[in-house]
């Protein structure tokens, strides 16, 4: 399943690409929600994956949706350092 060698952000990208067979890449600044790469039915899985890979707990009541809108934002908020 997940390989140790794959960076977390690439695992998130891989998860997105697996759901969208017509895509070959996702740009770091591409809006995942506006571009319908993450929809209401895949959002839960998406949030769980970010939590698992980052070890950061996400409280839905305080989550700033801007922090998960792009791969760059996810990297900065959850995966940096």
């Amino acid at each position: 399943m997940r390989q140790q060698t794959t960076a977390p952000i690439d695992q998130i990208k891989g998860w997105i690409l697996a759901k969208h067979e017509n895509r070959t890449d996702v740009a770091a600044d591409e809006d995942l929600i506006d571009n319908r790469l993450v929809d209401s039915l895949s959002f839960v899985e998406f949030v769980f994956l970010i939590q698992e890979l980052s070890g950061v707990e996400i409280d839905m009541d305080t989550l700033d949706i801007g922090d998960v809108r792009t791969l760059a934002a996810i990297q900065k908020r959850f995966l940096a350092g």
């Binding site: 319908r36 209401s40 769980f48 839905m60």
Partner: protein, 299 residues
């Protein structure tokens, strides 16, 4: 178009009249009907073990009886929390439609429906807060997924029906399960009683809305509806598997546990049991065209 179908269906009118009278006759005061003991016994099942997400899996085999009881407690609190969130969503949608031209005919029944759901939400929230100390949160967000636009009401009522049937699978079993505390059985029994009316109504309305939609829809739109409903069922089923629950039950690596359960050998069987009636209803009338959709966790 659909309005005409709703207004002219004699069968729907009969169902609405019958269900509305039943609502009046069966009416109870939810604020008086429960005793709410200060606490419930910890050393027993809170949810029928067969209905817990780890039942019959290698994960359950690693847990002590005490841990299994504890897990069943948090699983039950998650289940009632899902009810709270699901009811909020359906109240918003039904309230949006009551006494509009399109839904004039079912509006009388909508009053019962809205009133009863408000009360269900109250007793489920009470249970969570009293015995679990919290209502589990549900991640919500992402792009809206409702194709095509003229199917909006159809999909709203189909979603409500799927959700109510999923819940009823659990309620109807737990209501009769003598391994459970009386308070737990009662909450499930009372909800099951009201939901049998809601489900009977939902099936009639969804059938009619789909009839109207199908007359105008392209094959592509029909398959979009089918895909959406399949994905919605998968999503609803997977929401029973909560990493927060596994963590609260003291199980390490909760995200990994969730993934193992969702990709494990028991999942398809459990999912088929939960949606047996729903799936056969939706395929019989052509809303769903294929076998069960691929799991969201594996897409």
């Amino acid at each position: 178009m659909t309005t005409a179908l709703i207004d002219t269906s004699e069968r729907l009118r009969d169902v609405l009249n019958r269900l509305s009278s039943m609502s009046v006759e069966d009416y109870y005061n939810p604020y008086q009907v429960f005793d709410w003991p200060d606490s419930l016994p910890q050393e027993m099942w809170w949810m029928s073990p067969e209905l817990t997400t780890t039942h019959g899996t290698e994960i359950a085999a690693e847990l002590s009886q005490e841990q299994l009881y504890r897990l069943s407690k948090y699983e039950s609190v998650n289940f009632y929390s899902l009810n709270v969130h699901g009811i909020r969503e359906l109240l918003i949608e039904v309230t949006r439609r009551i006494h509009t031209d399109e839904f004039a005919t079912p509006s009388e029944f909508f009053h019962h429906f809205i009133g009863e759901e408000n009360e269900h939400m109250w007793f489920f929230a009470q249970f969570c807060l009293r015995y679990g100390g919290k209502i589990y949160k549900q991640p919500r967000g992402g792009a809206e997924t409702i194709p095509p636009s003229k199917a909006a009401s159809l999909l709203v009522f189909a979603r409500i029906l799927i959700f109510e049937e999923l819940v009823d699978h659990f309620n109807s079993r737990m209501a009769l399960d003598e391994r459970l505390d009386d308070t737990i059985r009662k909450i499930n029994r009372i909800h099951h009683q009201d939901e049998s009316r809601h489900i009977a109504f939902g099936r009639e309305l969804v059938r009619i809305l789909f009839e109207g939609f199908r007359e105008q829809a392209t094959p592509e739109e029909l398959s979009q509806v089918s895909d959406y409903l399949g994905r919605y069922m998968t999503y609803s089923f997977e929401s029973l598997f909560s990493p927060q629950v596994y963590r609260d039950a003291g199980i390490p690596n909760p995200f990994e546990v969730r993934r193992r359960l969702l990709t494990g050998p028991r999942r398809p069987e459990f999912e088929a049991q939960v949606f047996r009636k729903t799936h056969s209803f939706l395929t019989r009338y052509g809303l769903i065209q294929a076998p069960m959709a691929a799991p969201e966790s594996a897409r």
